[in-house]
């Protein structure tokens, strides 16, 4: 067995963007384990200055192609907080429906295209097509349904154009909502199939554990498993929640040499965000179907195996679909109203927080009296997980170092992927060669 290991994986594949893992070990002794994030600085916070409050969501939705709806909402909520703009109950419900569509889309993408190949020990989803064609088709159908759902409410699959401060520019018709509801009933069945497939390879999920802090939103009054409303909580905060406007007290961001992305810490030296964090703080509020999925995989509250994040996503996927089916009934029973939203800008500062599929997201803006942005501050979930990934590496690598270079490399990549990071970068490359 090789005890001298030198791994330098550049551009971890299958996460959006760049990320490097460095492990150096001599004679079984680890000299260096590092999660490096050489992401191109994006400077969105600087770029939005001078732009109108009505344009902010358009710009920042481009921070990420997978969680664009989430960024739009965090920004829009921040604008609304800054200017005291209110949103009708109907618009609020439709926003949550739109937000759920992104949770489903992103979770299915992660489970099916990015994590499942690991469980099946395939290098990507492409050879998986031959290995498990029905599973791949089911995943595709569920993903497509989620995208169509986003497009119906958001006007486009990604980078929505219907969201505006105060409400929507346009909402779907009653008939379109009914059709969506029918599709979602089918999607629910597909998710059951996908859960079964994942369960069949669940033995390949590593048994690693590391106790850490889990940070997410928590909604009380009425209590709900939340992605959109609520305050900030963690398993270390002893039931006490922190209001969104005080989010800096939670993230405590700092710059490290190994990363262009800022890192974060709260009660300990690192914390985790994402589906597992939400599950760990709110599991009892999931729908029955979602609870059944968790049970299938023996996923219980305060699970501290980061690889189980994928299972938590599966439970959440079921949760958002079940919840949405019910919400559509409620919306249509009340009857859809056309709302013409007009807002007037005013000076102010406000923070907005929502759960991205991969964890809690904060936006904050300050506006002058014309409604032009003078300052912005954004903290994305992937950055909040970096320190935690580093801590995981430091515990995990010594535990598996005897398994040889290939296994170590694969398991470390799997660990990073289990966090579902989206490290957007400036030049992504996608190269296709054609066999003639």
């Amino acid at each position: 067995m090789s005890k001298n290991i030198n791994i330098n994986v550049h551009h971890v594949t299958r996460v959006e963007g760049h990320g490097n893992i460095v492990v150096n070990a001599k004679n079984g002794k680890i000299e260096k384990v590092q999660w490096q994030v050489p992401e191109a600085p994006r400077f969105f916070e600087a770029m939005v200055r001078g732009r109108s409050y009505e344009d902010i969501q358009l710009i920042v939705s481009r921070i990420c192609g997978i969680c664009s709806i989430t960024h739009s909402f965090a920004a829009t909520k921040a604008v609304e907080a800054a200017m005291g703009i209110t949103v009708s109950q109907q618009a609020d419900a439709i926003r949550r429906l739109l937000h759920y569509s992104e949770q489903l889309q992103s979770h299915v993408l992660h489970i099916g295209y990015l994590a499942a190949p690991d469980f099946f020990a395939a290098p990507s989803v492409v050879p998986l097509v031959a290995k498990a064609p029905d599973a791949v088709k089911t995943i595709i159908r569920a993903h497509r349904a989620a995208n169509a759902w986003s497009e119906l409410i958001g006007g486009r699959t990604t980078h929505p154009v219907t969201i505006k401060p105060g409400g929507f520019t346009k909402i779907p018709t009653e008939k379109e909502f009914r059709q969506l509801q029918e599709t979602l009933k089918e999607t629910l069945k597909d998710l059951g199939t996908i859960a079964g497939v994942v369960l069949s390879v669940a033995g390949n999920i590593p048994k690693f554990q590391r106790d850490t802090e889990y940070v997410s939103l928590k909604q009380t009054n009425p209590s709900a498993y939340t992605f959109y409303h609520g305050d900030i909580v963690s398993n270390d905060s002893k039931g006490k929640t922190t209001p969104v406007k005080d989010w800096h007290k939670v993230t405590n961001e700092y710059v490290v040499a190994q990363s262009t992305a800022k890192w974060a810490k709260w009660h300990r030296d690192a914390y985790a965000v994402g589906a597992l964090a939400r599950f760990n703080n709110n599991a009892e509020l999931l729908t029955d179907g979602a609870k059944r999925v968790a049970k299938m995989f023996s996923l219980e509250k305060l699970c501290c195996n980061p690889f189980m994040n994928t299972v938590a996503q599966l439970a959440e996927a079921v949760h958002v679909v079940e919840t949405s089916i019910q919400m559509i009934d409620e919306l249509l029973t009340k009857g859809l109203k056309t709302e013409n939203v007009k807002t007037t800008p005013k000076a102010g500062k406000g923070a907005g927080c929502v759960e991205a599929p991969r964890g809690i997201l904060f936006h904050e803006y300050e506006f002058d009296k014309k409604g032009n942005c003078v300052a912005a501050d954004i903290c994305i979930p992937t950055n909040q997980n970096h320190a935690n990934i580093q801590k995981d590496f430091e515990k995990f690598v010594p535990e598996i170092i005897d398994q040889g270079e290939d296994a170590v490399r694969l398991k470390m990549e799997m660990l990073v992927r289990s966090y579902d990071p989206c490290i957007s970068c400036s030049t992504h490359m996608l190269n296709v060669q054609f066999v003639k």
């Binding site: 400077f43 770029m47 200055r49 595709i140 980078h159 400036s426």
Partner: protein, 231 residues
């Protein structure tokens, strides 16, 4: 990532092609390309070198998405002093070497681009169409007319009647006028039509007393300081 959103169409495409390197969705990597598809804009010296390398290895190079075709939203950065931008985001750590950044450029400001797939996000149908054409050795036809043409064909009310500054008259069609159809002005994610002075939607421009130059100056969100023609 929009590519993964192509759903089963991608499975068909994969039947005709062998995807040899796709960093976001695959682990295998390879070296020579018949067709290289580049996403994103250029902001670091490293990106530029990589681009030259890929251009050298690729028979056909396709720029995919607004960042690649017109510099995209990242070009907003060019409106500021870069040192000041860094200070704004990273404070006293702004001078750390790994935070180096330069002006944002579209791909064709660095290397020759053979085809462009416009939009942010791209239109899936257009993507599959262009790739199919290239697979069959044909030249894809990309719309040379403005968004207004598609918008009117759909019977939308013109947003200029609702005090929205819609860039539809000077922006390249092909999105089926997505935004105006959702009650939101076109903000230009597909870039200008070729030669906007000639091909702009004259009827709309006349009706609302607009000027092509004024509209261009409103093109601030995407590809600010974009060159007037982009072919």
């Amino acid at each position: 990532m929009q590519i993964v959103n192509l759903e089963e169409e991608i499975l068909d495409l994969l039947g005709g092609a062998d995807v040899v390197e796709w960093r976001e969705a695959m682990s295998e990597q390879s070296h020579d390309y018949d067709i290289a598809i580049i996403e994103g804009s250029v902001t670091m010296a490293e990106d530029e070198e990589r681009l030259w390398m890929i251009r050298g290895r690729a028979k056909i190079l396709v720029a995919l998405g607004a960042c690649a075709t017109i510099g995209g939203i990242n070009k907003l950065k060019n409106n500021f002093n870069l040192d000041e931008v860094k200070k704004c985001v990273y404070g006293k750590n702004a001078s750390m070497p790994h935070l180096e950044t330069s002006l944002t450029r579209a791909i064709d400001e660095v290397v020759k681009v053979d085809y462009k797939i416009h939009g942010c996000p791209i239109e899936k149908k257009e993507f599959t169409y262009v790739i199919r054409c290239l697979l069959m050795g044909k030249k894809p036809e990309i719309p040379q007319w403005p968004v207004c043409v598609e918008c009117k064909a759909k019977g939308n009310p013109c947003l200029w009647d609702y005090e929205q500054v819609c860039l539809g008259p000077i922006i390249r069609a092909g999105c089926d006028a997505r935004c105006p159809s959702s009650g939101f002005r076109c903000f230009g994610c597909r870039g200008y039509v070729d030669a906007p002075n000639v091909t702009a939607a004259k009827d709309v421009i006349e009706k609302y007393g607009l000027k092509v130059e004024d509209l261009k100056s409103k093109m601030v969100l995407f590809g600010s300081k974009q060159r007037p023609t982009d072919e």
